[in-house]
Amino acid sequence: MSSRAYTHAKGRVIAGNTLAYVVLSVLCLIWLVPIVWIVAISFSKGVAGIPNYFWPKYGLTFQNYINLFSSSGVSSGFYFPRWFLNTLFVAVCSCALASVLVLSVAYALSRMRFHMRKPLMNVALVLGMFPGFMSMIAVYYILKAFSLTNTLVALILVYAGGAGLGFYVAKGFFDAVPKEMDEAAMIDGATRAQIFWQITVPLSKPVIVYTILISFLAPWADFIFVNMIMGPTAYKNYTVALGLFRMIDREHITTYFSMFTAGAVLVSIPIVALFISMQRFYVEGITGGSVKG
């Protein structure tokens, strides 16, 4: 290769990389715009309704955040701390329950061989194809039959109840844990339960973290089932998702938009932090199932 051709090729690489940097930076900017905007507006003074500007016009303030926590919210029902605690409570309980259910199903379907295994897996597949909230109204009446509507317990039951169907990722992971270890332990006289708790669980940390993460995050994002179960006026039993959603209803938006921005930022921070720190497990989780093809 002549030196001229070499510099030419090198120039092309540099030009290509510069272009890539420019494109990536522009894309990053686009991706950050909504996030920066909501943070900026949450610190902005004089916001009533949707502002028609990107950058705070009338100076900065903490007032939006203070309003979120002020006790005047207690009477109107739009009381963010309460919603936050509700969601935390529901998330912790349903996450504990759902994780146990998911891991149990995944382990049983992955490791045990029994008569109904294939049929059960096929039924799970079929059930998963119905639109999730087609059954919403029936779930509501079932909860009503147990007089659980308007309670947080109902939410926990709804989030954890169907969790058994989400076993695919965990099962895929268990499938990859070598079977020889089980067999060795079995020869040593361990029961299936002992193998599960003492061998499989410690070896499956990533998928357990993933399962816990997913089931912990679900209640923070759902507003459909809460809306169904809580009815229109049970504000104090709302979760943050539904609460924030209500804040920018047509009738509330002018009063509450600034509070909504502050609340949105506050909810997002812990979730984003949790998510970013667990990113590795999440990526393993979502790619694991599809790449196997």
Partner: protein, 469 residues
């Protein structure tokens, strides 16, 4: 071995069910002939064989099951099953006797009758299963006794559930949960699709009845406001799903190529910025987008300030603009997903393929269309179909961004960006047209099922599940 068996099961699904049923009945019959007095008595008095042979706990369990079931049937079960046939005959009415305060006479409630009927059917199925278990347990106890072997005591049997029958322990709670919160409601809603439970038949004020395929006919016919909504909404749902899936996938892959390009630094930082849009809860990010795209929101504000437009752009209030907006915003949400998925695969493309192509003088574009795309496409085909189904059911983005709007006067309870699932939601929550909502749900199910069948049956991981273990 198992694979062969499972394939056979698939081919002869229905015939197989009947065969299993016949074997079970034969088993019941033969066991009765071979059984001694105690075993035969357990056909009537469940658990008797176990009880009489010293397995007290087991015997009591079966007996209790029988007693509870009989008690349930006598008190409410039989009535619940009978109610399924008519779904109620007595409408509530006000009885006015001259000289007295008019009294409301409560009538039947079709909805509750259907719900309790379905629950009763599930209980009957459970009882039949328990009955079979009872017989086989009775026979087993007899056999062990005849062979002179000791019968397993309560402790031994319980220990079994932590070892050989550990799957029963593991699956008991999850299956109960799914039965109660998924199967029962779904059966109920599927049955509702075959009734006329719509806005004008709301119990307890009025009753609803079985109407067969009436709701489906309403949706599929070629006239009437319902089918006038169904077909366009179905058309938009499919268009949306195709465009959203393909655009996200292609652009996500390009982004992954860019980030993984040799010589690019700060890969982790770039990736984290994009992953932010997955990390932020959708209701937050999409509600922010909705406000940004508002007629009087910041984007329109800035466009006008810069003099690019004289009046606001109806991003979410004009049908065409709204459809484009949801597709574009969906890129913001969806590209990072495909980026994550394809990143791992890109790394696994053999380097030799690239080098060979480069030596042959392939342009970057050719490299993309001839090598990268086919390779990634091959590996992610099942993911693509899952994504497509996900987009058909993509409730969040439509509901949070446009709420299905802008509304259309020619549609029934739907807007120009409504998907089948958001329309289903509106019919459920706003107008309580449950029968039509359920019929739509069944249509979505059929679309998803057909696509998944194609997807899953053709993947290696489904065909040779065992080889991956």
């Amino acid at each position: 071995m198992e694979e062969k068996a499972s394939r056979r099961t698939e081919r002869a699904g229905l015939a197989n069910t009947f065969a299993t049923l016949r074997t079970q009945l034969m088993f019941l019959f033969c066991s009765f002939r071979k059984g001694d007095g105690k075993t035969r008595l357990s056909y009537v008095l469940m658990g008797f064989s176990n009880l009489a042979r010293g397995q007290v706990a087991k015997g009591i369990y079966y007996l209790a099951c029988e007693l509870l079931f009989v008690a349930y049937m006598m008190t409410s079960g039989a009535r619940a099953l009978a109610g399924l046939r008519t779904l109620g005959t007595q409408t509530q009415h006000i009885e006015a006797i001259p000289g007295q305060v008019p009294k409301l006479i409560p009538g039947d409630n079709s909805m509750l009758m259907l719900l309790y009927g379905v629950a009763a059917i599930l209980l009957v199925v459970w009882f039949i299963a328990t009955y079979f278990w009872n017989v086989s347990s009775a026979v087993r106890a007899q056999e062990l006794q005849q062979q002179g072997k000791p019968l397993p005591g309560f402790k031994v049997e319980v220990r079994e559930y932590l070892d050989a029958k550990f799957h029963v322990t593991l699956l008991f709670l999850p299956v109960t949960g799914v039965l109660l919160f998924t199967v029962l409601p779904l059966l109920f809603m599927i049955l509702i699709a075959f009734t006329n439970y719509d806005s004008s038949h709301q119990p307890p004020g009025s009753l609803f009845h079985w109407t067969g395929l009436y709701s489906f006919k309403g949706l599929f016919s070629n006239s009437g406001v319902l089918s006038g909504t169904f077909w366009p909404v179905l058309g938009w749902t499919l268009t949306w799903a195709v465009v959203a899936t393909v655009s996200n996938y292609m652009l996500g892959m390009l982004l992954a190529i860019l980030i993984n390009k040799k010589g690019i630094k700060f890969k982790g930082l770039f990736r984290t910025v994009f992953v932010l849009s997955i990390a932020i809860p959708q209701f937050v990010s999409l509600l922010i987008m909705r406000n940004m795209l508002d007629d009087f929101g910041p984007i329109n504000g800035v466009l006008q300030q810069w003099g690019l437009t004289s009046s606001f752009v109806p991003f979410l209030t004009n049908a065409t603009f709204a459809r484009l907006s949801v597709l574009v915003v969906n890129l913001w949400v969806g590209i990072p997903y495909s980026m994550l998925i394809t990143s791992g695969i890109l790394i696994s493309i053999p380097k030799e393929l690239y080098e060979a192509a480069m030596i042959d003088g392939a342009s970057p574009f050719q490299l993309y269309t001839k090598i990268i795309l086919p390779f990634v496409l091959f590996v992610t085909a099942p993911y693509l179909i899952t994504q497509f189904i996900g987009n058909i059911n993509n409730f969040n983005i439509i509901y949070l961004l446009t709420g299905g709007g802008p509304n259309s006067l020619t549609y029934y309870q739907a807007g120009k960006t409504d998907l089948l699932v958001t329309w289903l939601y509106k019919l459920t929550v706003n107008t309580r047209d449950y029968s039509y909502a359920s019929a739509i749900g069944i249509c979505v199910f059929i679309i998803s099922a057909v696509l998944s069948l194609i997807a899953y049956r053709n993947t290696k991981s489904y065909k040779n599940e065992e080889t991956f273990q």
